[in-house]
């Protein structure tokens, strides 16, 4: 073991040299500890949910750049520390551990998915850290946990929007087809729970695996009950397969999809089968179709311009969750001097914050802060979105 002899002068010199090189290469890092506030980001940047995490990471960086360019928060710059979960709850837990113990962040934005979020919730509660999730599942804020907030519209508002539309069509029997993961489960629970409020009966509820290649069996089983509409709840690519299968079977009843597929990718995947499908979506997807008096129109167009100039790619409907999370956290940080309990209180008291995903008004009993107006119903016609009244 001659390499680890304690008195090796060569080794000592090498270690010193490395230290000097590192210190001089990153002078900003060395002195930034005092002046910046670190905000942690945990997103599924790669892996199956990268369509969420990748734009979220970019939007978070964009929001931080914008806030810093405008002078930061109380004169302090913000700094993003972002980790990738690959959509894996155990990696999300590791990332949260690093953010809390090693990076000592002031607050955390993300994770992107409901399972990854639920995995890190106990950790941020123990660490008493303001936490704004970007995932959709309403289990995250139900029941209310003091430190846990979220920006993504939840299934509650999405289901309410779909049911309001179904009720208007005079349909009272529906079938549901949900993906067998927590996004689908959460959607299914809401679909069953809220059905009564709209005078709707769920006559059959089926599920499919996230990677399944054929759902004709499930659709056939639903069709046997002769429902007036089918609601599919999932994220790509499953719902696109459902759309294709529905066309194959010649299903002539309206097919509703969830906000989980509200992206141009869905139209690309489902192709002609996407025609006529109805779904609720955040307003970002149809920003240019919104009437000028919509309160979010200005914020949305500014964000879309900034994102598309900065990254030279089409804006996604999901990055806004992280953008809102950062802006909400920055707003809550004002005047707190970094005191986490004060940030939490400020977050809870934010009212009428116009964001990308809706107008946020938090309270002690509502940590999502959105109402059904955060969604609009759209129909896919000629491969494009069309606002439905």
């Amino acid at each position: 073991m001659r390499f680890v002899r304690k008195d090796s002068p060569l080794l000592l010199a090498a270690a010193l040299l490395t230290a000097v090189v590192f210190a001089s290469a990153f002078p900003a890092l060395a002195e930034s500890g005092e002046k910046t506030w670190k905000i942690g980001g945990i997103f599924s940047i790669t892996g199956p949910a990268s369509f969420l995490g990748d734009p979220e990471k970019k939007s978070m960086e964009l929001a931080i750049e914008e806030i810093n360019a405008a002078g930061g928060v109380d004169g302090r710059m913000l700094e993003a520390v972002i980790y990738d979960t690959e959509g894996d709850p155990s990696k999300a837990v590791m990332a949260a551990g690093k953010l809390i113990n090693k990076d000592r962040v002031t607050a955390i934005a993300g994770p992107s998915r409901t399972p990854t979020t639920l995995a890190v919730v106990p950790m941020v509660e123990r660490a008493n850290l303001p936490f704004v999730s970007c995932a959709a599942g309403n289990k995250i804020v139900e029941p209310i946990k003091p430190w846990v907030f979220k920006t993504a519209q939840s299934d509650i508002q999405a289901v309410a929007s779909i049911y309001a539309h179904i009720e208007k069509q005079g349909i009272d029997r529906i079938g549901t087809l949900t993906v067998a993961n927590s996004f689908g489960e959460s959607g299914r629970e809401q679909l069953i729970e809220q059905a009564g409020d709209f005078g709707i009966t769920v006559v059959r509820s089926e599920s499919f695996g996230a990677g399944d290649t054929d759902m004709t069996s499930q659709l056939t089983k639903i069709r046997q009950e002769k429902p007036g509409a089918v609601i599919c709840w999932g994220t790509n690519p499953g719902p696109a397969v459902v759309a294709k299968n529905a066309e194959q079977l010649g299903l002539d009843i309206p097919l509703y999809q969830s906000h989980g597929v509200a992206s141009p990718k869905f139209i690309e995947l489902a192709g002609d089968s996407a025609e006529g499908i109805l779904l609720p979506t955040g307003k970002i997807l149809v920003a240019d179709l919104l009437p000028d008096d919509d309160p979010q129109k200005q914020v949305l167009t500014d964000y879309i311009d900034a994102y598309e100039t900065r990254y030279d790619e089409t804006v996604s409907g999901f990055g806004g969750y992280a953008y809102d999370a950062v802006y909400l956290l920055a707003r809550a940080m004002e005047g707190t001097g970094g005191d986490k309990e004060k940030i939490r209180e400020n977050l809870e008291n934010i009212k009428g914050h116009v964001g990308i995903s809706g107008v946020f008004s938090f309270s002690q009993t509502d940590h999502n802060g959105l109402d059904p107006s955060a969604f609009v119903m759209v129909r896919i016609a000629d491969g494009k979105w069309q606002l439905v009244k």
């Binding site: 990268s50 369509f51 054929d214 069996s217 499930q218 089983k221 690519p237 990718k265």
Partner: protein, 291 residues
Amino acid sequence: MQELLQYLFSGMTNGAVYAVIALGFSMLYSSTDLINFAHGEFVMLGALCMVSLTAGAGLALVPAFFVTVAAVAAAGMLFERLAIRPVRHPQPIVLIIITVGASIFLRGTGMLIWGKDAHSMPPFLDIAPIDIAGARLLAQSVWILVIVTALAAGLHLFYKKTLTGKAMTACAVNKKGAWIVGIPFKWMVLLAFGMSTGLGAVAGASIAPITMSSYDMGTILGLKGFCGAMLGGLGSLWGAILGGFLLGILEAMGVGFVSSGFKDATAFLLLLLVLYVRPQGILGTAEVKRF
């Protein structure tokens, strides 16, 4: 009745795909005693190559299909030459772990080349689904069934009628004996790898139009194909086909008559049952060795 038929169609479509994948597993096993756990990844490569060549490069279907199969078979042979043959002590367990590693490597490569999103492509023939007694069958499913039948017949002839096929069978029966009578054993293994991964590519290229292809589709398809091969009897040509179809149809029936929540459970429960009652599989005859 209409429902039953629809479940059967759905099961046959999936089953045919499982059968082609199972064939790949089975034929490689019979000529090399090796289970290639990266096989599902070759299916993925086939599907994504097909999408790229048709939707991306604008190649016509038939040439795209053959280029895909040839390219993936070449990748499979390269894999054998670079990762399997150089192993100094080729015990089965070592080789199997190498294939697991290769599957992770290929999935990563797939993600780098094709990105993280799913891709889709139009069907081989853009015609309306065929209506049989109220149940709908996609034209693409008919294509897949035709391809499976052709492959099975082709492989059967290859093993029974050609010298190369017989030589490959000889290698499977007794390596040393085959070597003594002058059969180039190494070439046979290389060929088996090429054919097996080529079969994977056929499966991938044929399902690309009916489902979505993404870099991570291979794992579950590989598992299902492996189940099919085990079910029918590993190493048996007709067993792989029977196992694949059985698995697909039972899955669809499970969804239809039990619950869609148990779809994947059906497959694996069935596998456990078969392994318990008849470890050599339904049509398998060779004594099963444990390693």
